[in-house]
């Protein structure tokens, strides 16, 4: 097991390196530089000086090595958009809204999705099942900005119950949290239904019924536990995906979270910020998958992770 984790850590390091090189090259291959914008034109001399100060006049590999040397010391540079602070402090400021809204969305959507999936599996082929499966398909197929749009139209524009956008007061959180909850809810409804149906058809459930155990104990003590494995393993990657913010949900509801920086760093050629965002998300996903795989092996001892198939 320890050997397996070590091997995975090496693999993560390689992935991290490859992603950093690819993204760095792609980022610099995009035509234009950080000071070519038309909204604040600078003269040629000023630009040259700025480029020299930020080290942008050096060859690419030197820039890459400099930046990565900083990253290893947890120094992600200074964002060109707001030179008064560091990338780390900017992210520390922008992440809480995304974390709160996305985290709440996952924490609300997951249990609801599990309940919905359980109801669908236990009342198979009734209207409950169709409703739950319908909701799950809708949540997974309708793009999240469409869901946000409909929420704003119905609850803010037509019914006028809730504010359409903003951040701060808790009532402004309701609509974005619902939008964030859609994907975890749909994912969990689908996984739970499939896993429960799978388990309900196993012979041991028949044996338990024959033994005379109450249906409630069969469901909660045996079926649910045996179906929990896929549900546990998808949780962490999904949480990371949601809690790092959504460009769309945050743009629709004008939330000052991480999402907007994904777009603005690309548009403004803000290389340090862009690099930091990509590396951060990549690393979090790598570790989320690693922890999920370890949890999977721990919950299901029949799988020996050392062998990998």
């Amino acid at each position: 097991m320890i050997l397996y984790i070590l091997r995975r850590l090496v693999s993560i390091a390689v992935t991290f390196f490859v992603v950093s090189v690819i993204i760095f090259l792609m980022m610099h291959a995009v035509p234009g530089g950080p000071f070519d914008g038309n909204d604040m034109p600078v003269s040629e001399a000023v630009r040259a000086k700025l480029m020299a100060k930020l080290g942008l006049d050096q060859p690419l590999y030197v820039q890459y090595l400099n930046y990565m040397a900083g990253v290893l010391q947890f120094d992600f540079g200074v964002p060109y958009q707001s030179p008064g602070e560091t990338v780390v402090s900017l992210l520390a400021k922008a992440w809480p809204p995304s974390l709160v809204l996305g985290g709440l969305g996952v924490l609300i959507g997951t249990p609801l999705g599990i309940l919905l999936g359980m109801a669908a599996a236990l009342k198979r082929n009734t209207w409950i099942d169709y409703l739950a499966s319908g909701l799950a398909t809708l949540g997974l197929t309708v793009p999240v900005f469409v869901i946000s749009m409909l929420l704003i139209l119905v609850f803010a524009v037509w019914l006028n119950w809730l504010p359409a956008s903003g951040w701060g007061k808790p009532e402004r959180w309701i609509l974005p949290v619902i939008a964030f909850a859609a994907i975890p809810l749909a994912t969990y409804a689908r996984y739970t239904r499939a896993a429960m149906l799978d388990t309900l058809n196993r012979p041991f459930v028949t044996a338990l019924r024959a033994k005379g155990l109450s249906e409630r104990r069969i469901i909660f003590q045996h079926v649910l536990r045996n179906s929990a494995i896929p549900m546990v393993t998808v949780f962490l990657p999904m949480f990371i995906g949601t809690a790092t913010g959504s460009i769309f949900v945050e743009a629709m509801f004008r939330v000052p979270g991480l999402g907007s920086y994904f777009v603005s760093s690309i548009e403004n050629r803000d290389y340090p910020l862009e690099m930091a965002l990509v590396l951060m998300v990549t690393l979090m996903f790598c570790f989320a998958y690693l922890i999920s795989d370890i949890a999977y092996a721990w919950l299901n001892p029949r799988i020996r992770v050392g062998g990998r198939e």
Partner: protein
């Protein structure tokens, strides 16, 4: 006891006159799935609308013919109203189906073209080849696709072919994994061993035996890649780095509609509904096809 049950069920079904093909059973399973059939019908209607768009509406999707009536609400004359630049909105929605569906199908086709050879190679040879291909797939799973798509979009300045390329770049992974699993399962089968013993080259075996045997995962991968590509196109166009403006794209229209939403609801509602219905219909159709062609994958 089990033989008794079998005998009973055999008596219950009328004797088959001829051998039913697996495809016939798949077709029956598909027809039994009402949501999938409905999705398929909607998809066919949308495809017909996209193909015969100029026959459905007489106006041009980019012509600003009704500037004096800009932002007019839906009426008998203009079913979906007029947009902010004086264009008939119904026409733009119908022509938007062309963009969405073409990108969806083209991207799915390219996904399959990349996914089949890589999946077959990984499944057939295993070992180091498999390891390398799986690491490439891992790369695609840890980088947020939208972020990479935005970078690529900025790099190539958007456009129709770029979107197809980006969608295929992220769509092939699913096809590759499906084909790999199937090839891996068939690699040890007797007919493959026999072909190997007769001296067939790996390339011949993959082409003549393994890929034809993977046809159902390939179809499944193809159909399920379509809605993903359509969603990616809409997302990129929504962010303004997708299909460039005069071309009608639903994502772009939603973005514009958002600015007028508080007063002119029709500009936001119709493209939103069009996108939702199309993606939903395609997904339901794809899910139904998957359940019909490969019942063991059901619900995954």
């Amino acid at each position: 006891m089990s033989t008794e049950v079998n005998a009973e069920t055999e008596l219950a079904t009328p004797p088959a006159w001829r051998q039913r093909s697996p495809l016939w059973f798949a077709w029956r399973r598909f027809l039994a799935n009402k949501a999938a059939v409905a999705g398929g019908i909607v998809l066919v209607v949308l495809m017909l609308a996209a193909i015969f768009a100029p026959l459905i509406t007489k106006t041009d999707p980019t012509a600003q013919d009704f500037l004096t009536q800009s932002l007019a609400f839906p009426s008998w004359e203009f079913w979906f109203g007029i947009d902010d630049l004086g264009r008939d909105f119904f026409t733009r929605i119908v022509f938007g189906a062309r963009v969405s569906l073409t990108i969806g199908f083209a991207a799915a086709a390219f996904s399959v073209l990349i996914g089949i050879p890589l999946g077959a190679l990984a499944g057939y040879f295993g070992g180091r080849t498999d390891w390398i291909i799986m690491r490439i797939i891992e790369l695609f799973s840890v980088v947020p696709p939208l972020l990479a798509a935005m970078l690529l979009g900025a790099l190539t300045r958007g456009g129709f072919f770029t979107i197809v390329f980006i969608a295929a770049l992220f769509g092939w992974v699913q096809v590759c994994l499906l084909v790999r699993a199937q090839v891996k399962a068939f690699r040890e089968k007797e007919f493959v061993r026999a072909a190997q013993a007769l001296g067939a080259s790996p390339w011949y075996i993959i082409r003549r035996h393994l890929v034809p045997n993977s046809i159902s995962p390939i179809i499944i991968g193809f159909v399920l890649a379509i809605p993903l590509a359509m969603m990616l196109e809409a997302s990129l166009s929504f962010l303004g780095i997708g299909v460039p403006p005069p071309t009608p794209s639903w994502g772009q229209m939603i973005n514009t509609g958002m600015n007028f939403m508080f007063f002119y609801w029709h500009l936001a509602v119709f493209p939103t509904a069009a996108l939702a219905i199309t993606v939903l219909a395609t997904t339901l159709f794809g899910d139904g096809l998957r359940d019909a062609l490969d019942p063991t994958l059901k619900g995954r």
